[in-house]
Symmetry: C2
Subunit: 245 residues, 2 copies
């Protein structure tokens, strides 16, 4: 059976891609993706055929990849981070129903939660919830319910899409909800441009996070009740039975 | 400043390691880790010095790595999956307080949630919560509270350590709690031995999952209300505003 690959390229930096992803992109005939992601990998795969569509044209992008596969080419659809976390893996499988002789294979990658956590220290050592604040495809009520459920149960929260040009106040609204359950001194962290030019991070309290302006290239972490700052790093202990050393 | 690396090696298969992780392990002087993980990577780094400790000897293992760094060697502590998700990154930073002239750098990797999701299809496309059922360091009440919070808010759940030799009924108990909030027909998936010999996966209902025997090498996925089975794959749609194509 013919295969089509959906490949997570990691946060951006070439070295943060898996060996498998690099191998598949090297061996395939055509790489399909959102323009920004194609630009991130282009220099590492010289002479390769690239096909791009702009943002929001996801369905078109997926069909483009399947059409290439139909022609007999090995096609790889790339996503930043991991293709399975707010990525194209699901849509590829839905659209794949129309191409029954092509098998979709997902190639995992380092998503922003994992890549960002490594930069901040070790915030996700214990149970955590990943929530996107984008209300393009999800009603805000559902997002709010998720924030409440996660905050109430003392999860560490990792927030994707904390704001965009159109939605400036989503992070503030989210923090206000979380503040109903978590202390204002909760240790939080933000990371911007993970594995790309201008990478930066900051540790701050939940109260300070509420007033923070972020953009689409920022990932936000809100600690649990045990999360601490240790030597400038955000660290969540492994267990709730606090071990003393 | 001298550096010590905490490296996520991914699920097990060498190709699922990042280029960065492979590079660091190739260039370092000594690789420290739990015996099982060292055995997974050993053949790929011939001639390298390896130091191991058995399970549960985590603190000793960390100190061992720092002692090597103190001697002037470049040391890498390896963890399966990602070092920042139920891994050693946090403990390394806590113990690092006693070694102020050594900087801990976390090298991200593909954790079981990401690696397992890729095998099952695309279960984590939307908001998800990661919960460990191990009550070694966490009281069961906290685990139960997390399960309730996540199930109530219709997160996709990804469960680590669903059971062990001593804790045979944890997954059953967890499913019973989740069944208070989610339908018995909720699409679930289990993956065993991700990226290792004997890798296998299965899609089943929440009701069937409750009766399933699992082990420490299994990762469990419980869908949200929108998760579907498409051609034998577990797929969560990207949004809650169901788009029709």
């Amino acid at each position: 059976m013919r295969k089509i690959y959906v490949v997570g390229i990691g946060p951006g930096e070439y070295r943060k891609m898996t060996l498998e992803a690099a191998e598949i992109l090297k061996d395939c005939d055509v790489i399909v993706g959102y323009t920004v992601y194609v630009d991130l990998v282009k220099e590492h795969f010289p002479g390769k055929e690239f096909l791009t569509t702009p943002m929001r044209r996801e369905e078109e992008r997926c069909r483009m990849a399947f059409e290439e596969a139909e022609k007999g080419k090995t096609a790889a659809m790339i996503c930043s981070g991991d293709a399975g976390v707010y990525g194209m893996a699901g849509l590829m499988m839905e659209i794949g129903k129309s191409y029954p002789d092509i098998q979709v294979e997902v190639v995992p990658g380092v998503t922003a939660a994992i890549g960002g956590a490594a930069i901040l220290g070790a915030p996700l050592i214990h149970d955590f919830a990943v929530i996107s604040l984008s209300d393009l495809l999800t009603p805000w009520e559902t997002i709010e319910r998720r924030l409440r459920g996660a905050a109430m149960a003392d999860f560490v929260l990792c927030i994707y899409n904390p704001s965009s040009k159109k939605r400036k106040d989503h992070l503030k609204k989210a923090c206000e909800i979380v503040l109903e359950y978590k202390s204002k001194d909760t240790v939080c962290g933000i990371v911007s441009n993970i594995g790309r030019d201008g990478e930066s991070c900051q540790i701050l309290t939940l109260e300070a996070l509420k007033e923070k302006e972020t953009d689409m290239f920022t990932t936000v972490f809100i600690g649990n009740s045990q999360t601490r700052e240790i030597d400038g790093k955000m660290v969540t202990p492994r267990g709730y039975v606090y071990e003393r050393r």
